[in-house]
């Protein structure tokens, strides 16, 4: 998947990306959080996907590696977001080994507990993928 195929406004580009990476996400976010934060789904699609991930200059695999590294170093409290981004990383073509390596490198920067917690999150995602594939 290449971001230079995306077109239109940042919201359009964000929606095109989300359709490929995380279909239905905008509606799910709106349904869950929309009562207290109206427009949250559109905001995330527009800002995170349309204005950040869709930018030129860095391919999506590298972007997902960076996100996985940052969430790992932040520690265990970001496990739900980490799992979502590991899913995304697999979809854009990262291998399980590449994801494991970047998490393990973060033991240096975030400490061993943060890296081990992240490896456990990755294993959960990988197990789910492997069982869906078989």
């Amino acid at each position: 998947m290449a971001t230079d195929e995306l077109s239109g406004s940042s919201l359009d580009k964000g929606r095109q990306l989300v359709d490929q990476l995380n279909p239905g996400m905008e509606a799910v976010l709106e349904q869950r959080y929309g009562d207290i934060v109206p427009g949250i789904g559109e905001s995330i699609v527009d800002f995170a996907y349309g204005q950040q991930y869709a930018r030129p200059g860095l391919d999506l695999k590298s972007r997902y590696l960076a996100t996985i590294a940052a969430l790992t170093a932040l520690g265990g409290h970001t496990a739900p977001q980490l799992k979502v981004n590991i899913e995304g990383g697999l979809k854009v073509g990262l291998t399980q080994q590449e994801i494991g390596e970047v998490i393990w490198q973060m033991a240096l920067y975030g400490g061993f507990p943060a890296a081990i917690n992240a490896l456990n999150s990755a294993l959960e995602v990988f197990d789910r993928h492997d069982s869906e594939a078989s």
Binding site: Y109, G110, G111
Partner: protein, 127 residues
Amino acid sequence: MTDNELFEKGLAARKGTLGAEYVEKNLAAADDFTRPFQEAMTAWCWGFGWGDDTIDAKTRSMMNLAMIGALGKMNEWEIHCRGAITNGVTVEEIRAIIHVVGIYCGVPQSLECFRTARKVLEEQDLL
């Protein structure tokens, strides 16, 4: 134990680790804004916590360097690094504690501790 007894016990423990001069300066500098906390902290942290001799002062200093190092509160780490030396923690032991901070909290955090420890140890001609 009355509140006042706990405060006096804490004051003695606090001076024993951090030095009478430092503690008296701190209490004298307290104003209406900070005095209630200074007094409560002296009674509670130092009287109730440090005042319990189940764990000796040297071990407590080592625990503090590990905990405060993990939290990354480097101003307090520096104060407790001086206290640790007063309580008999050696340069080699401080180094070993910083290594553990690196393992559990990451290399950048251990480098912060080394930087602060070097400042304190050089001040005291221990490096």
